[in-house]
C-alpha cells in the first residue's frame, strides 16, 4: 500500500469521527496557539524594548561613570578628582578610537525650577551640553537652532527644549489646537532668564501613538463627552524613555558651569565636576581597544586612581535579552506541557479507536492489508489529527492575538512571526508520531483471525 492511500484511509476515518477528533485535537490546538501567540507577544515586547533602546542612544554609546575607588586605593579617596572637563579634552586629544565625546553637567532638578509666567514645568533633566549631544543622544531639532561655539564661548543664556517642556509651559497642540513654536520666548531657569533658541522634535513610541489615535477615536465616538484622564499616564513618566527624551532642557555647558556651578558647593566654592561623559566609538568591532584607550587616558588624568567605570549599552541589552530569554523559557514550558497533554489525548483516542475497530482491522487484514499497512494507517491517522490540530491552532492563534490586542490596545502589539509557527507545527507532528506509534504497533500486531472473531 502506498503512503497516499494510507493517508486517504486515515483521513476518511478522521472525517467519520469529526466531533471526537475535534475534542482530541483541543490540546494540540491550545498548545500551538498559545505557543504562537506568546511568541508574538514577546516579539512585540522585544520590539518595544529595542525602540526605547534606540531612543536612549545607539549601541555604540558608552558612558563614563563615577565609581567608588577600589579598596586597595581607599587611602587615595580624597585625591579622587572626579570627572572634569580636562578629562574630556584629554580624551579628545589622545583617544583616536573615540568618534564623539559629549560632556554633560546636570543641574539639580529639585532646586532648579523651569518656569514661565507662573507656570512650572517638571523636567527630566536640565543639562549643560556640547553640540555633540545631538549625535550622542540621537536628537533632532525641529524648530530653531542648536548652540554654536559663540554661545559656548560667551556662556550665553540660551536653551533648547523638548516638546514636553513646551507643552507644560505654553500648552500642547492637543489642548490649544495649534502647534506653538516657542522660539524667542524667555523662560526662567533657576530664576535666571533664558531665551529659547530651538526645540526638538516630538518623540513617541508606537504604543503612545496608538494610544493617541485611540483617544482621538474615542473622542469622536463619544462626541463632546468628558475627556478621560488616563490614570497611569503620570505614574509611568520616569520609567519611560520617550517621556524623558521629550522633557529635557539643554543649555551650553559653559553657561551651566558659570551660571549655576561657579559657587554651588556648600562653602561657596565652585563644583566643576561633570555628571556625565558619554563617548561614541568609531567602530563597534573595536569596542574593547577603544575602551582600553579611554581607560589609559582617564588613568593618566586621574593619577592612576580608578574612580570611574565604563557603562556600555551592551549591559542593558544583555539585561533585556535575559528577560526575553526567561519569558521564552516559561512560554516554551507552557506550550510544551499543553502539547504533551494533547499528545496523551491523541494516544488515548487512538487506542480507543483501534479497540472499537478490531474487527475492521481484521477485515482489512483478510482482504490483503499487511501489518505494515495497518501500522502506517494508524500512524498517519494520529499524525493527521495532530497536524490538523496544529493548523486549527495556527488559525486560532491569530484570533488570540487579535483578542490580546483588543484587551490591551495600548501595549506593544504582538507580532506573529514564522519561526514559532514552524516550530509549533513540527512539534505537533512529532507529538502525533510519538502518540501514534504504540496504538499503531498494537493494531499491526493483531492476528487476523482473532481480530475477525473479536466481539
Amino acid at each position: 500500500m502506498n503512503l497516499y492511500n494510507a493517508i486517504l484511509i486515515g483521513l476518511k476515518d478522521i472525517w467519520a469521527h469529526k466531533f471526537r477528533t475535534l475534542l482530541t485535537m483541543l490540546g494540540i490546538v491550545l498548545g500551538v496557539s498559545s505557543l504562537v501567540a506568546m511568541a508574538a507577544v514577546i516579539t512585540g515586547m522585544e520590539k518595544g524594548m529595542k525602540e526605547s533602546m534606540i531612543a536612549m542612544g545607539g549601541l555604540d554609546k558608552v558612558r563614563i561613570d563615577d565609581e567608588d575607588v577600589p579598596v586597595w586605593q581607599d587611602h587615595l579617596r580624597d585625591q579622587s578628582p572626579g570627572r572634569l572637563i580636562r578629562d574630556v579634552h584629554a580624551l579628545q586629544a589622545s583617544a583616536p578610537l573615540i568618534k564623539t565625546i559629549s560632556p554633560e553637567m546636570r543641574l539639580d532638578w529639585r532646586s532648579t525650577r523651569v518656569t514661565s509666567k507662573g507656570k512650572t514645568a517638571s523636567t527630566s533633566e536640565i543639562v549643560g551640553v556640547w553640540p555633540a549631544v545631538l549625535e550622542m543622544n540621537l536628537y533632532e531639532l525641529e524648530h530653531g537652532r542648536f548652540f554654536c561655539d559663540l554661545d559656548e564661548e560667551f556662556a550665553n543664556s540660551v536653551c533648547v527644549i523638548g516638546t514636553g517642556v513646551r507643552d507644560q509651559l505654553f500648552g500642547s497642540p492637543e489642548q490649544t489646537g495649534e502647534t506653538m513654536v516657542p522660539i524667542g520666548k524667555t523662560i526662567q531657569i533657576g530664576g535666571q532668564p533664558f531665551t529659547i533658541v530651538g526645540m526638538f522634535r516630538h518623540y513617541e513610541s508606537e504604543q503612545e501613538r496608538k494610544l493617541k489615535e485611540l483617544a482621538k477615536k474615542q473622542q469622536q465616538e463619544t462626541k463632546g463627552g468628558v475627556k478621560r484622564q488616563r490614570g497611569w499616564s503620570g505614574a509611568k513618566k520616569w520609567g519611560d524613555a520617550f517621556w524623558r527624551k521629550n522633557n529635557v532642557v539643554y543649555m551650553p555647558l559653559n553657561t551651566a558651569w558659570i551660571k549655576f556651578r561657579a559657587a554651588s558647593n556648600e562653602d561657596g566654592t565652585p563644583d566643576p565636576r561633570l555628571t556625565d561623559i558619554d563617548i561614541k566609538i568609531a567602530d563597534l568591532d573595536l569596542l574593547e581597544p577603544a575602551l582600553q584607550q579611554a581607560r589609559n587616558v582617564m588613568l593618566t588624568m586621574h593619577n592612576g586612581i580608578v574612580d570611574f567605570e565604563f557603562e556600555t549599552e551592551e549591559n542593558q541589552i544583555n539585561d533585556i535579552r535575559t528577560r526575553i530569554r526567561n519569558m521564552r523559557i516559561s512560554q516554551g514550558v507552557i506550550a510544551g506541557l499543553s502539547l504533551l497533554v494533547g499528545g496523551i489525548g491523541i494516544m488515548n483516542i487512538m487506542l480507543a479507536s483501534i479497540n472499537e475497530r478490531i474487527r475492521e482491522i481484521g477485515t482489512c487484514k483478510a482482504v490483503g492489508a499487511s501489518s505494515e499497512a495497518i501500522f502506517t494507517q494508524i500512524l498517519v491517522e494520529s499524525i493527521a489529527v495532530a497536524l490538523i490540530g496544529a493548523v486549527v491552532g495556527l488559525a486560532f492563534s491569530f484570533v488570540l492575538v487579535e483578542l490580546i490586542e483588543l484587551a490591551s490596545p495600548a501595549q506593544n502589539s504582538p507580532i506573529i512571526t514564522t519561526p514559532p509557527m514552524l516550530l509549533a507545527v513540527a512539534f505537533s507532528a512529532l507529538v502525533g508520531v510519538v502518540a501514534g506509534i504504540f496504538p499503531a504497533y498494537k493494531a499491526a500486531g493483531l492476528h487476523p483471525i482473532q481480530a475477525l472473531r473479536y466481539e
Binding site: M1, N5, A366, S370, P448
Partner: protein, 243 residues
C-alpha cells in the same frame, strides 16, 4: 496440478495444559472451477480449515500450496499479499467498514494492493455491477438491507479477480429467502468459472454444491461429489459442474 493442495495438514492449539487437534491430518485438493461446501458440526474444525485455506492462519504441520505457491512456510507479509491478490472472503456478518461508502468498501482490497484511484473506481463499479448494486455505490452499508450488504461483500471479494473465493456461513445471518438469493449469486459465479468454497453447518445448503466435504473431529469424514450422490438441487444449474 490442483489450485489448492493440502497434504497432512495439522493444527494444534494449546489451551492451558490441554492439546487440541483442530485439524488432524487433512488431505485436500481443490481444482480450478470447483464449487465446494465444507460441512460439519461446530467444533469440527471446518472454520480452522477455512482459515488455513484462506491464508489467514498457518498450519502447525503439513504442506499447502495455493496456485503453485508454498503457503505453509510463508511469512505474514507474503500471506497478506496472497490474501489480497488471490483470495476473496465473504463473512457471515458481512464485515463491511461502516464509515466507508459501498464503493469504498469494495475498493478496499485494491487500496492495499496500491492500485490507482481511477483503476479502483472502475473495477469497484464492475464488481458492483456483477451483484447488481452499482446504483448503491454512494450509500453507506448501514443504509442497505442484509442481503444487499452481503452482495457488497461479495463484490469486495470479487474486485481483485481472485483465484478462489471463501464464504464463511454467508447466509447464516440472513433470512431464508435472502439467503437463497445469495446462494444463487454464488451459483452464478460458479457458472462463470469461479472457484468457490463455502463453509456451512446446514446440510441443505451443502447439498446445493457440486462437491461436498464433511469434516468431523479435524478429519475429512467424506468427500462427496454431488453429481455422483444424485441429490437434487433446489436450484437449477444451467451447466453441470465440472469435476
Amino acid at each position: 496440478m490442483a489450485l489448492v493442495e493440502l497434504r497432512d495438514i495439522r493444527k494444534t492449539y494449546h489451551l492451558g495444559g490441554e492439546v487440541i487437534h483442530a485439524l488432524d491430518g487433512v488431505d485436500l485438493d481443490v481444482d480450478q472451477g470447483d464449487f465446494t461446501s465444507i460441512i460439519g458440526p461446530s467444533g469440527s474444525g471446518k472454520s480452522t480449515l477455512m482459515h488455513i485455506l484462506g491464508c489467514l492462519d498457518t498450519p502447525s504441520s503439513g504442506s499447502m500450496t495455493l496456485d503453485g505457491m508454498d503457503i505453509h512456510d510463508a511469512t505474514p507479509r507474503q500471506l497478506a499479499k496472497v490474501r489480497g491478490e488471490k483470495i476473496g472472503f465473504v463473512f457471515q456478518f458481512f464485515n463491511l467498514l461502516p464509515k466507508l461508502s459501498v464503493a469504498q468498501n469494495v475498493e478496499l482490497p485494491l487500496i492495499y494492493k496500491g492500485a490507482s484511484s481511477r483503476e479502483r473506481r472502475e473495477r469497484a463499479m464492475q464488481a458492483l455491477d456483477l451483484v447488481n448494486l452499482e446504483d448503491r455505490a454512494k450509500h453507506r452499508p448501514s443504509q442497505l438491507s442484509g442481503g444487499q450488504q452481503q452482495r457488497v461483500a461479495i463484490a469486495r471479494a470479487l474486485v481483485n479477480d481472485p483465484r478462489i473465493i471463501f464464504a464463511d456461513e454467508p447466509t447464516g445471518n440472513l433470512d431464508s429467502h435472502t439467503g437463497e438469493m445469495i446462494l444463487e449469486t454464488f451459483c452464478k459465479l460458479h457458472e462463470e468459472g469461479r472457484t468457490i468454497m463455502l463453509v456451512t453447518h446446514d446440510p441443505e445448503i451443502a447439498a446445493l454444491t457440486p462437491k461436498k466435504i464433511e469434516i468431523r473431529d479435524g478429519k475429512i469424514a467424506s468427500d462427496v461429489d454431488a453429481k455422483l450422490s444424485g441429490r437434487e438441487s433446489r436450484f437449477k444449474l444451467n451447466r453441470p459442474a465440472d469435476t
